[in-house]
């Protein structure tokens, strides 16, 4: 059974204008984050006290912030932090959630208990995890990543369980069991590949949401702490100068919007390409 992510997916994405555009945007965003040190015109932490709150100009393409730092440079490096936070929480929460989802689908006796537990987790909106973890570990990127991971676990578990259950109903699972295939091997060889497209679509969409949530927490002062360049924290800092130099907060906010939009569009396009029936 081959993984469902094949070149054909790319081709299908290419045929859909929105899909192609969003894929292009995501690629650009990721490239910008990776190449930040080379693309950045100057050090994102260097303060130029003679050029504070400058509007965009030929020298500072996106202007400077309240401490005279180059916003373009901070955006590029902030993109890294923002994306890394998102990816880390998606990976941590996603892997754990997928494992729980497989277990729930596979070991029917554990299903009720596991899913009830997932319901309890779902009863905590992600932002509350963020608040609680900020209280425990103090505000910071780590708290945000942990909070968003926890919030991702039950969602991923549900998605995986749902797709896995469909496969579990098929005869060949019984057959595979009958020939003595081990549980782990069965999950890995049969369940996992069938859930891949759902996981893939969910992850893309979730990454957008996680970035959105993470930036909101940073904006509240519970996430990334200044002077770390992170888009949400930059927007929060710039808010103080909203009426004097709106670009300081508007540009990073707009940045978050564009990133999340790109991932959401890509997720939608992927869903349409891979499995239009998925309801994620």
């Amino acid at each position: 059974m081959a993984a469902p992510v094949k070149p054909s997916v790319l081709r299908m994405l290419g045929r859909d204008l929105g899909g192609a555009l969003s894929l292009g945007m995501v690629v650009l965003i990721v490239l910008a984050a990776i190449l930040a040190p080379w693309l950045s015109p100057r050090d994102p932490y260097e303060t130029d006290l003679l050029a504070i709150m400058q509007p965009p100009s030929a020298e500072y393409w996106l202007g400077t912030d309240g401490q005279g730092r180059d916003i373009l440079a901070r955006m590029l490096f902030g993109l890294r932090v923002t994306l890394l936070m998102g990816l880390a929480s998606l990976l941590a929460g996603g892997v754990l959630g997928a494992l729980i989802g497989f277990c729930a689908a596979f070991y029917r006796r554990a299903d009720g208990l596991l899913m009830r537990f997932m319901d309890i987790l779902l009863s905590f909106p992600a932002i509350l995890f963020g608040l609680a973890l900020a209280a425990i570990f103090g505000p910071g990127e780590v708290s945000v990543v942990i909070a968003l991971s926890i919030a991702t676990v039950p969602l991923m578990a549900r998605i995986v369980r749902g797709s896995a259950l469909v496969v579990m109903g098929l005869d060949y699972i019984e057959a595979a069991r009958a020939i003595g295939m081990s549980d782990g091997r069965l999950i890995w060889r049969h369940l996992a590949p069938n859930c891949l497209s759902a996981i893939f679509v969910f992850s893309t969409l979730r990454l957008g949401q996680v970035i959105l949530l993470g930036s909101a927490l940073s904006f509240l002062g519970l996430g990334a702490q200044p002077p770390l360049a992170e888009l949400g924290a930059m927007a929060a800092q710039g808010r103080n100068f909203l009426f004097i130099a709106p670009h300081i907060s508007v540009i990073p906010s707009l940045g978050i919007f564009v990133i999340v939009l790109a991932f959401n569009l890509l997720g939608d396009a992927l869903r349409d390409a891979l499995d239009p029936r998925l309801r994620i």
Binding site: Y45, E46, L49, L50, Q67, I244
Partner: protein, 532 residues
């Protein structure tokens, strides 16, 4: 370019006026501030956020006139000082009542002052009890006479007694509320009475109807013109600016420097300044903690930071860059020490570090004997601290020193700043004179707070004691100068900025005057009235 555009925008808005609703009701004013106090007990709270409210809730024996020098009668209508400077006898007014209607007596005053210095049960220890001088005894001679006896003369006693720590509070209410005094209620003789408090949101004060004993530098001596004062916490600077312009609030002294100039040109808003104002922003070092215990590091910090540029960037013309610990306009300022404080010179900073053995490490941070040149700074989470912190952080990075910053919400910060978890901190403080300023921070007795530097030097203590009890002003000045020079050389703190008091009010209110005692811009607000 940007500034001009902003000014135009602000001015345009001002002309069109703030037409929409949500203006506070007539005879009520809304005062905005950035942070709340943790409580409103004059003997357990030292924050400006507490003081600015308590000066309205309670009165002191004597009042400070707006010139910041003249002492005027308040609860005491007159007083005598014995020739040896040890006994002060205060004759109290007979018409004063508390908010609950009870008559105010000398016993209430004695209780309040004794509570301040920790001589009541249950014992309350005010962190600033030392401001009361070396008290022998405070007693009520009769209902209207108070005897204040010192062990040693204290030249600044009357100025200290104008501060809100020396407020008169009702003993019965203190007993009834216990720990919750100043949290769930208050009972003072001030022009306003406790209405309700929603922490971090709002403090509502209602007019004290019987109030007739306001200081004589007010035209109206009571009761207050406005019926209600609402202190509203609005943490976002921009929102305060806009709310003031839109007429959603009436008065604030918490306008970020960046907005001051622009806001001054808006016709619907009036700016009030107080030239007699000593409130400095500084960075202190715990001199017994690793890294910052090295005088080379501390001096290098002084030389690495371009204070004039920093002050210009953060305070935008509303503060002056500082060098010495004491403001040049304050009494007993020492000009020689001002020259001794190291100024901005990055090359010199690097040289100093190199000479002291701090060599660049692999990550750019200097190392000496396996110790990285890194330290932790605590501060209250305000916009100024954030910006100042990041600028200093960057400046230090360029000479190979790593400064980490942890900012705390105001309600927690005071607790955290009382610990030994950090190496340096940002704070700002008001004072009346050099002796006042030095006594506050540098006596070994004042550790751990407010002497958060853990500065414990017998010589300093001796000079402080000598200056405090000196009856001759020249002798006091000489001692103050010696300490200033010692501190200039040792560099245990970096005085960053000398701020000025700027108060803004909307044109809906009149009679606003910037006062500034202990930083509180409004003092008693007796003359303030609404015109709409």
């Amino acid at each position: 370019m940007l500034r001009r555009a902003t000014l135009a925008a602000l001015a345009a808005i001002g002309i069109t006026g703030a037409a929409h609703a949500q203006t506070p009701a007539r005879n009520q004013i809304v005062v905005m501030r950035e942070i709340d106090s943790d409580r409103y007990d004059p003997h357990r709270s030292t924050a400006l956020a507490g003081g600015e409210v308590m000066t309205m809730l309670a009165d002191t024996l004597v009042a400070m006139a707006p010139d910041m020098r003249t002492i005027r009668p308040l609860l005491a209508e007159r007083w005598e000082v014995s020739p040896d400077g040890l006994v002060y006898t205060f004759h109290l007014r007979r018409d004063v009542t508390f908010c609950d209607g009870k008559a105010f007596t000398a016993r209430d005053m004695a209780f309040s002052l004794n509570r301040w210095i920790g001589r009541t049960t249950p014992r309350v220890t005010s962190p600033v009890a030392w401001r009361a001088g070396d008290v022998k005894e405070i007693t009520a001679v009769d209902d209207h006479t108070l005897r204040y006896e010192l062990n040693r003369p204290f030249s600044e006693l009357l100025s200290q007694l104008t501060l809100f720590f020396a407020s008169a509070i009702d003993p019965a209410t203190v007993e009834r509320l216990g720990d919750n005094f100043g949290v769930q209620g208050f009972n003072g003789t001030g022009p306003f009475c406790w209405g309700s408090w929603t922490p971090r949101q709002e403090m509502v004060l209602n007019r004290h109807q019987a109030y007739r004993w306001g200081p004589d530098f007010y035209t109206n001596r009571g009761p207050a013109q406005v019926e209600r004062v609402t202190w509203r916490v609005i943490p976002e600077a921009a929102s305060r600016v806009a709310a003031l312009q839109a007429g959603q609030a009436d008065i604030t002294q918490y306008i970020p420097p960046a907005f001051v100039e622009a806001l001054s040109r808006v016709p619907t808003v009036t700016r009030h300044t107080q030239p007699n104002y000593f409130w400095d922003v500084f960075m202190g070092f715990k001199v017994d903690k690793p890294v910052v215990n090295d005088i080379a590091i501390r001096r290098a910090v002084h030389m690495a930071v371009d204070r004039p540029a920093l002050v210009r960037a953060v305070w935008a013309g509303t503060a002056e860059p500082a060098r010495n610990i004491v403001n040049p306009n304050a009494a007993d300022f020492d000009a020689e020490s001002d020259r001794m404080v190291p100024g901005f010179d990055r090359a010199a900073a690097i040289r100093t570090l190199e000479e002291a053995g701090w060599r660049p490490g692999p990550d750019g941070v200097r190392v000496k004997d396996g110790q990285r040149a890194t330290f932790m700074t605590y501060a209250i989470n305000t916009l100024d601290n954030q910006r100042m912190g990041e600028i200093i952080q960057q400046a230090l990075r360029q000479v190979g020193i790593e400064m980490r910053i942890q900012l705390f919400d105001a309600t927690v910060a005071w607790g955290r700043l009382a610990t030994q978890e950090f190496d340096a901190f940002f704070l700002s403080y008001p004072y009346v004179s050099a002796t006042d300023a030095l006594n506050l921070y540098w006596h070994s007795r004042n550790r751990p707070t407010p002497n958060r530097m853990n500065w414990a030097d017998p010589q300093t203590d001796a000079w402080l004691e000598a200056g405090r009890s000196a009856l001759d002003p020249a002798e006091r000045a000489r001692n103050a100068a010696l300490i200033q020079r010692q501190l200039a050389e040792q560099a245990p703190w970096l005085t960053v900025a000398r701020t000025s008091l700027t108060l803004f009010s909307s044109n809906r209110v009149q009679g606003v005057r910037a006062h500034g005692l202990y930083g509180a811009g409004l003092y008693k607000v007796l003359d303030v009235r609404t015109v709409r």
